[in-house]
Symmetry: C2
Subunit: 266 residues, 2 copies
DNA sequence: TCTACAAGATTACGGCGTAAGCCAAAACCT
DNA sequence: AGGTTTTGGCTTACGCCGTAATCTTGTAGA
């Protein structure tokens, strides 16, 4: 990991597995997974598509590299650390918020992390690295969990993050009225421009701040109208359904889940 | 929706949006989403690929039709009904198990239902039909929930199902050691044969029975070995991690979630 | 300087989604 | 019944996709 990579030194130009993966992630953020073709990535890097294969075995491997990038990004998050200085609860809390920060910053990429097939049935998304799994299991074990409780917490934590963040990132990446996604298809020749007008590249904290600030008026997209006669309840609740309370809800649901784990070990 | 459709009557052969969608679902079950190309589907139906476009506007629409098929399948499930004769808890319980039956029977298709982009941010997977959303919101409202509680229950239920079942179906559709998935890619020319040797077509109950019967020895795939020095905890817990306790865990976690909702309205 | 090799370029192939047009047969309307 | 319209499937063709195979070139090490 991170061999040398700077464009000045080394043999060719500044390409490397990580650089390619990073460019791919940027492309995914900007235009969706479907737009990240080998040719498009090459173009973005000023390079022919086939050159990517010097750093990546095939497209699957590239997408795996993107997932690795996500996991690596977690390690660089100053709030997320692999230590439980303040107890297991704080450890899981920080980890969860770190993962959520990524999901919010990269709503097009999160489904990738969430649904990419794993090598073993117990490598669960969204933490698909043996290193993190080891860290988590070990931390919980050291916190006094017995084996069964460790596994319960492991699965509870993963499925909670998976479900909630996939729901949230799904709400942030709506279908383009014309021209679908291509996210889960072979082929698909559409560009899938990011629909909401958001440009998810940096500034996670900034957007969070915005989302948190106005508390009850940040509705995302009402889908025009809902037929009142056919779906009266949906129609009545449409406005509240469209409100964005994700931060508070996530925090609260997370606390609830941790409570449940705590109750389990008591 | 069921116009006539029988091959004997009507104009052409027995094609229809639903028939095409059903064939697609079968292909997805057998070989994964990536294998369900227009040409492959046509071949399976004894028809040219372009003929499918008479019943479906494009491939995105076809995948939507598959999702519709899932929702429709729910309606035909005798245990799942859109009424709360026995209270909201029973209603949600039956619904959840119905969705899980589908996820277990169609592990390759569930990620599709889970990640397909929606038209509005409050249409959450896995219940992506206005009819079901209306049913659920209305039922909860009639059960005495106020608006805020309805929304809390709605989102809790959806994110729980999404996370748990995606985790479970992910564990049932592992990566083919050679040749990746193509599930989230454009292009991808691989067949992705179903890995576990399972043939998920009917007999959900039967497989459940098997899964339930032997309680502690149904491990799915150990991934060969895990390096003991690098990942000691994973190594130690590998066997238990590989065990399939999904049914009991799901049931228990579901009850916990319903408890949380119940506590919320008390 | 010579050699080996790694990084990127070129070419080419089969498969993909699908636009456009064609055609026979079923359905409909006197 | 006979003419017309509509429908459902077929054919052709185009551009994009992933990638196998091969060639070119600049650089590092001897």
């Amino acid at each position: 990991m991170a061999e040398s990579g700077r464009p000045g030194r080394g043999r060719g130009r500044g390409l490397s597995r990580e650089v390619v993966a990073r460019a791919t992630l940027e492309l995914i953020d900007a235009e969706g997974v479907g737009a990240a073709s080998m040719r498009a990535i090459g173009t973005r890097l000023g390079v022919e598509a086939m050159s990517l294969y010097k750093h990546v075995s095939d497209r699957n491997d590239l997408l795996d590299a993107v997932v690795d990038l996500v996991v690596a990004e977690l390690d660089h998050d100053p709030e997320v650390r692999r230590t439980a200085d303040e107890g297991w609860r704080d450890y899981l809390l920080r980890l969860a918020h770190g993962v959520r920060r990524f999901a919010v910053a990269h709503p097009h990429a999160f489904p990738l992390v969430a649904t990419r097939p794993a090598e073993a049935p117990w490598i669960n998304p969204p933490l698909r690295s043996l290193a993190w799994i080891e860290s988590m299991l070990q931390t919980l074990g050291e916190a006094g969990f017995d084996d069964e409780q460790v596994l319960f917490a492991y699965r509870s934590f993963n499925s909670f993050l998976l479900g909630y963040l996939l729901m949230e990132s799904g709400a942030r990446t709506l279908r383009d009225p014309q021209a679908g996604d291509g996210a889960l298809s072979p082929g698909s020749a559409d560009p899938e421009p990011v629909p909401g007008g958001l440009t998810p590249t940096r500034d996670v904290e900034e957007r969070e701040a915005i989302a948190d600030a106005d508390d009850a008026e940040d509705l995302i997209d009402p889908l025009g109208e809902v037929d009142e006669d056919s779906y009266p309840t949906v129609h009545r609740l449409a406005e509240q359904l469209a409100q964005d309370h994700y931060v508070e809800e996530f925090t609260r649901a997370l606390e609830d889940m941790l409570d449940r784990i705590a109750a389990q070990i008591a």
